[in-house]
Symmetry: C2
């Protein structure tokens, strides 16, 4: 028997209006999903009797952390939703020189909590039984320090404009054998500054996506799809 | 000297509020972009003196037509915007068994005109000087007949669920040598019916994108990115 978290309990009673005896599926956010039956559906507390485990969507063989510059307005919501759909294991929001937000305003606006709720909802929609972690927003320099200190996992791929780095590799030419873990750096609307490109190059490999211009909010899904195609996930 | 189309003329005078003498860029929708100077900015008519040609974003070597099932609500707007960003040359909207719209309601709602405006705006945003054609919506059977009669270009790739076709190929395993032209079939929220899968198989090759579940409105950008990665465009 398990109790649902408050938000899911309210969704079950107030939106879905389920009563005791209703069949449901529950998942533990760490890869397992189960059949269940509602035992008690109170106003703010719901208890579910847990039954058999179910098959879920297989997770990617590469554990990707998306280190994404925070975008303007609510565009980051779409980025979180898409990244979870694609199959990342974590999103590290970053504040760069050209981000139009500050770390303080992100914390004040409780954006991390909002993004975590979006991650839950996208995982449910896409049949993932793993809820990716939404990490605490960090400044670009702090993320570079984490990469240098290996607290962020695996090799780092930094997506850049073709003009930004002479030694960049096209996504389609990356090694077909995937790493076990990888961090993927994607910049804001205005792109990386020359200083950020230089600092990034010290801890990552610059990667391009050909000569097209992609909208900043579409970059994560395009970058992740290109990588997963190359790595045999699609 | 050229006159701008009415909608662009109004955008220039009423939104951008440009006057005679203002420097602008104009493009002819067929691949060329030019520097220009506003010569006369009247209320509904704007004339521009055309100067030197400019470099534009290179077009894909594969001329892709996206044959996309019309989605619910305004989700098709996002699909058109993304497909133009990715670099398709045309979008063929199709009405399938599980589409929640009819051809009649699309025509009555002037959706084709709306999508054509979105195509212009997305092409401008992404620096493309080619405006992809938004074709007249057709029933699925009519599109299959066009593919059989070769009025739609090149080989056809039909994106399907892995469970839908035993002989489907993964996008990442397609031939690396791109065709000159291709038609890409993408289904609606509820997927293809067994009858549509059968009719489609007669004129196309079934292609899968691994075991993940993608939102219907994200399918075109994921499918096109996977193809373009495989074909050396990204």
């Amino acid at each position: 028997m398990v109790s649902l978290p408050e938000e899911e309990a309210q969704h079950l009673t107030r939106v879905l209006r389920l009563k005791a005896g209703a069949p449901v599926r529950v998942f533990n956010g760490r890869g397992s999903e189960f059949d269940g039956v509602v035992e008690r559906a109170g106003k703010d507390a719901v208890r579910v009797r847990v039954g058999h485990a179910r098959g879920t969507v297989p997770e990617a063989r590469v554990a990707v952390t998306l280190a994404q510059a925070v975008l303007k307005g609510d565009k980051m919501d779409a980025v979180i939703r898409d990244a979870v759909m694609m199959g990342v294991v974590a999103v590290q929001p970053i504040v760069t020189d050209r981000s139009e937000v500050t770390l303080q305003s992100l914390l004040r606006g409780r954006r991390q909590e909002r993004w975590a709720r979006i991650a839950v909802s996208s995982a449910k929609q896409c049949g993932r039984a793993v809820i990716p972690a939404i990490l605490e927003p960090q400044a670009f320099d702090a993320v570079v320090a984490s990469l240098a200190g290996m607290t962020l996992p695996g090799p780092c791929l930094m997506f850049v404009e073709p003009s930004a780095a002479a030694d960049a590799v096209a996504a389609g030419d990356l090694d077909r054998i995937p790493p076990r873990e990888a961090t993927v750096l994607v910049g804001p609307e205005g792109g990386w500054t020359p200083e950020e490109l230089e600092k990034g190059a010290a801890v990552s490999r610059p990667v391009t996506l050909g000569g097209r211009t992609f909208r900043a909010d579409a970059m994560p899904v395009v970058a992740l799809t290109a990588l997963f195609t190359r790595w045999g996930e699609l």
